[in-house]
């Protein structure tokens, strides 16, 4: 199947998960956005050699995935997709930073290796949290929540349009790409040269479409402002969710439970 089709189906799948009916799905979107934001801030606030402190943070995605009944293989696949990008960013760490930081028996582990590991862990945690947020809330609801949290409306509208027309653009790109492939007779055709013209055409078509959309909006009385439906519901359960997770992250960040547990175990069994 065409790579673009697979990507679109995957994206639609992620949106379908958001229609679930668990307690996590039912939490107010604003609360979920704030908790995810606190989580990400806590995770990225560690210094680059940190691993111990990050381990307890894996609890949050694990609990959320279990409670929201999200399929782990799907999320794992999505996380693996980003691996090459992270490795590209941290690939030179082991080569540039060779100072020994840990020693396990006779094996010396350099600071570069630790920082690469820490980078991987942090990326998985933050991207995992973002994926869980989208899979339990839906992109549109997140945008609306961000607006209600004070993000300017113009950004929300941009994000909503981007999301809506991503599918349309992907379908157009897929059709153009298939037409190119079919006329390349199984070979690479004119190679990279034809992609320049193809993307140019896509851009122009997008432009024309944008004009048509604007026309349809004007036809329906659009005057520059979106009149969205405001749903103000913020229950005690939402507040408990927000406070309990925020306090947990704060404790994890300041108390370092992994080190405490280690000291306790080594203290109890010297």
């Amino acid at each position: 199947m065409n790579a673009i089709t697979t990507a679109v189906i995957d994206l639609k799948q992620l949106e379908l998960f958001a229609q679930g009916d668990t307690q996590v799905h039912g939490r107010d979107a604003r609360v979920k956005v704030l908790v995810t934001l606190f989580f990400i801030l806590s995770v990225i606030s560690y210094h680059r050699y940190e691993i111990n402190g990050l381990l307890p943070f894996t609890l949050f995605p694990i609990i959320m995935v279990c409670r929201a009944e999200l399929p782990i293989p799907y999320l794992a696949r999505k996380m693996l997709l980003i691996c090459p990008f992270i490795l590209l960013i941290g690939a030179f760490n082991p080569l540039l930073d060779r100072s020994t930081l840990w020693q396990v028996g006779s094996i010396e582990i350099s600071g570069g290796c630790i920082s690469l590991l820490s980078l991987l862990l942090r990326s998985f945690l933050t991207i995992g949290a973002a994926l869980i947020l989208v899979a339990t809330t839906g992109f549109t609801t997140i945008c609306q929540a961000l607006e209600r949290l004070g993000m300017p409306e113009v950004f929300t509208v941009q994000l909503l349009f981007l999301h809506r027309y991503l599918f349309v653009l992907a379908e157009e790109a897929e059709r153009a790409s298939r037409a190119r492939e079919l006329r390349s007779c199984g070979s690479t055709g004119r190679g990279i040269g034809s992609f320049g013209s193809l993307t140019g055409h896509l851009l122009l078509r997008t432009w024309q479409r944008a004009e048509r959309i604007h026309t349809t909006m004007l036809s329906r009385g659009f005057t520059g402002q979106f009149h969205g439906q405001r749903r103000e519901r913020f229950s005690h359960a939402d507040l408990t969710f927000l406070i309990s997770w925020s306090v947990t992250f704060l404790l994890m960040r300041t108390m370092e439970p992994a080190t405490l547990l280690g000291s306790f175990i080594t203290g109890a069994f010297p």
Partner: protein
């Protein structure tokens, strides 16, 4: 004064590249009429429709909706009167869910939320799409998108319904359903279409555009009986009037 009258006087439109899309186009459509505007590709049909609610501005000539001239000041009122359904529903459905999309027009009209919700429900029920209310538009099939696009306009309670190629891209069942729906709409209707059988069924009056000029304006039955006129305008009779393809007998 009726809001349902559409009058076009000496309309001319020249595109930026010098193409004359419309030239001296004049007609008057009265209350409750159902009129088809037909013609070959590039005849100027879509350009003409876009003048009817001020989506594009005429190079010269005038458009009147309910005796009100279309100007910059009257544009908001005219857009409330003329509901336009565009050819590609993907251009028309841009909100996160079907409900939000159908509610877009009524909310822009300043209707309170309860009334908006009622209008949305009625419009979706009318097009048989009430069950799609919570779905995002990109999850809909082509026929569903078309029906929802029509609901987005019906929710604004327009006095004049203008549709560009309403049956294009629909399967035979969806097409038949849509035609039934359009028959129920008793206000003024203006369509462009290549579906001449639909024109024959729904529109007692037809206007033929050819290279930006009105070649004929009259009763649909008379126009489809004129073979020379149809051939000159790159058109042909609807299939229903072409006779049986098996026994070659004419229906006339």
């Amino acid at each position: 004064m009726s809001h349902h009258i559409v009058e076009v006087k000496n309309l001319r439109h020249v595109y930026a590249d010098g193409t004359v899309a419309l030239d001296t186009v004049s007609f008057r459509i009265t209350h409750g009429e159902s009129v088809a505007i037909i013609g070959a590709n590039g005849a100027g049909k879509s350009t003409l429709l876009q003048h009817l609610n001020g989506c594009i501005t005429a190079t010269s000539g005038e458009v009147f909706i309910g005796h009100i001239p279309l100007t910059r000041n009257t544009l908001p009122a005219i857009r409330r009167t003329v509901g336009m359904v565009f050819q590609y529903p993907d251009d028309q459905l841009f909100m996160p869910t079907v409900f939000e999309d159908v509610a877009f027009g009524p909310r822009n009209q300043g209707l309170p939320e309860e009334l908006t919700a009622e209008r949305v429900r009625e419009a979706l029920e009318l097009v048989g799409a009430a069950h799609l209310a919570s779905k995002p538009p990109y999850h809909l099939s082509g026929g569903e998108k078309k029906r929802v696009a029509i609901a987005t306009v019906l929710a604004m309670s327009p006095d004049v319904l203008v549709m560009d190629e309403p049956t294009s891209g629909l399967d035979p069942f969806a097409r038949r359903q849509l035609m039934g729906l359009l028959r129920e709409f008793h206000h003024t209707k203006i369509f462009t279409s290549h579906d001449l059988d639909m024109v024959l069924e729904l529109c007692p009056r037809t206007i033929i555009l050819h290279e930006g000029i009105i070649m004929a304006d009259g009763a649909t039955a008379d126009i489809f009986a004129n073979d020379h006129l149809l051939a000159a305008c790159r058109l042909e009779k609807p299939f229903a009037l072409q006779g049986c393809p098996v026994c070659r007998t004419s229906t006339n």
